[in-house]
């Protein structure tokens, strides 16, 4: 689709829909496009980190920086694909894969103790000391049969999170 066009053709909608495996309906995609254009203030065809950070609720999110790394520079098609993890039509497996990607900062398919600690740090901020975080993480890992040197893969995450009642859905407002 055209990168600077502000018009969404039927062809574009279908292409985007395919790309996200029909996670969203066509009306939802149109809605997301309006939102994308709203965010993309300079009309560059992608939403920059600054433009995302201008959304207050996003800016105060403890994981905003991590998400920015995944979001920065995405065009509309990729933007929708990113959000597809939050569609009710997406499988638990895909949602867990998304979560894994958030943890796996160097994108090597492995999540280590440091990676988990890093997210824990983002989430708890100054409310826990580094020492407390490490102790708690160690304890929780050991209880689950892992060690500080364990590396987690996507299947590991599936095993750990697969049985939980994990809910990760966002409603796309449709006029």
């Amino acid at each position: 689709m055209g990168s600077t066009s502000s018009m969404l053709t039927q062809y574009d909608i279908e292409e985007v829909q395919d790309h996200c495996n029909h996670a969203f309906s066509q009306q939802e995609i149109v809605s997301l496009y309006h939102r994308f254009c709203q965010l993309d203030r300079n009309g560059g065809g992608f939403v920059s980190a600054d433009e995302f950070m201008s959304v207050p609720e996003f800016a105060v999110n403890p994981l905003s920086q991590r998400l920015l790394r995944m979001l920065d520079g995405l065009n509309f098609k990729e933007f929708v694909a990113f959000l597809s993890a939050f569609s009710p039509h997406t499988s638990l497996q895909q949602k867990i894969e998304f979560i894994f990607k958030v943890y796996d900062t160097d994108c090597n398919g492995k999540v280590a103790f440091e990676d988990i600690l890093s997210i824990l740090r983002d989430m708890t901020g100054s409310f826990m000391t580094e020492q407390q975080r490490q102790k708690v993480l160690m304890h929780v890992l050991e209880e689950a049969g892992f060690t500080k040197d364990s590396h987690f893969t996507v299947p590991d995450f599936m095993k750990i999170l697969g049985n939980s009642d994990l809910k990760m859905e966002v409603e796309v407002p449709v006029d």
């Binding site: 709203q38 998304f98 000391t129 993480l137 929780v140 892992f146 999170l161 407002p173």
Partner: protein, 301 residues
């Protein structure tokens, strides 16, 4: 500062629980054990972020609102003691007393500087309290120690009478509960011989639903500065100052104020004592405990 060992005594003013427990008592919240899946599951926080991105109705002005991510925490026992309670970003604002009381203070502190008297809790909340409350003058007392009660009551009465002191902020529930209910108010705050200014606080559940909803709040507080990893959206109502009426007992006064607050914030009233929630083992170190007091109308802000 009065320090004292943790006493097993029940408070004198604690009502007979059997009189108040409904026949089908609400279940107590036991301290949860934290598991790896709880720690790893960041889905609520991610959902919040995605919701913010998708919200087409226009972003809320940061000055007037902040989103809340806080919620569940569990206890981790290491070496036989609870050494830390991990703060995980699950969005269902659960029934966590300590946690909520901390937020309440932070919210109100933004509006005016209160001299805070807080109940010090074990675990991470105590740790937070120590960090955040260091700058505010505190009066500490051990709620469970009967000897201290007289001394503290006197200290508090003295404090409220000094025009230069910051207004005192009290949460007479003694502990904080799920933001759906107000529990019986302890009468202590109503016996100080001063006006009671009720403050109703209601957290907005919209921000804790997995489905993002962009409805605006009636009144919201700005907490970003204090909270790097979580923040709160709530409604806060300052109600008319109330005075002890002729022939009214402290308990009746307490109940009357509780009715006002419950009505304003749309909370259900529950007769059971908030202390039912306290079933955590206390850590071995000595604790200084305190209570929060409501501000006076005549106090300087």
């Amino acid at each position: 500062m009065a320090s004292s060992s943790v006493a097993a005594d029940m408070e004198l003013d604690r009502p007979n629980l059997e009189d108040y427990l409904p026949s089908d008592s609400l279940p107590q919240e036991a301290p949860r054990n934290l598991h790896l899946r709880d720690l790893l599951d960041i889905s609520p926080v991610l959902t919040e972020a995605a919701g913010a991105i998708v919200d087409v109705s226009g972003s809320l002005d940061l000055k007037s609102s902040v989103a809340c991510f806080s919620g569940l925490f569990g206890a981790v026992q290491v070496d036989g003691r609870i050494i830390s309670e991990v703060f995980c970003g699950k969005l269902n604002l659960v029934f966590v007393a300590n946690h909520t009381s901390m937020i309440d203070f932070i919210i109100l502190e933004q509006m005016t500087a209160f001299a805070v008297i807080m109940q010090k809790h074990p675990g991470w909340v105590g740790f937070i309290q120590k960090t955040i409350l260091e700058s505010v003058g505190c009066i500490w007392f051990n709620r469970n120690d009967l000897r201290d009660r007289e001394v503290t009551a006197r200290k508090l009465r003295d404090h409220v009478q000094q025009p230069d002191n910051n207004p005192l902020l009290i949460f007479p529930e003694g502990t904080c509960v799920n933001n759906q209910y107000t529990v019986m108010f302890k009468k202590g705050a109503f016996e100080l011989g001063c006006a009671v200014c009720p403050i109703a606080i209601k957290y907005n559940k919209i921000f804790v639903d997995a489905f993002w909803n962009s409805k605006k709040q009636s009144f919201t507080m700005h907490l970003v500065r204090l909270m790097t990893s979580w923040a709160v959206v709530c409604d806060v109502w300052y109600l008319e100052p109330q005075y002890l009426r002729e022939g009214e007992t402290a308990i009746e006064f307490a109940e009357r104020v509780r009715d006002m607050i419950a009505a304003r914030a749309g909370l259900k009233k529950v007769p059971w004592d908030g202390y039912l929630k306290h079933n955590r083992p206390s850590p071995k170190h000595t604790e200084e405990k305190c209570a929060l007091y409501l501000p006076l109308p005549s106090s300087k802000k």
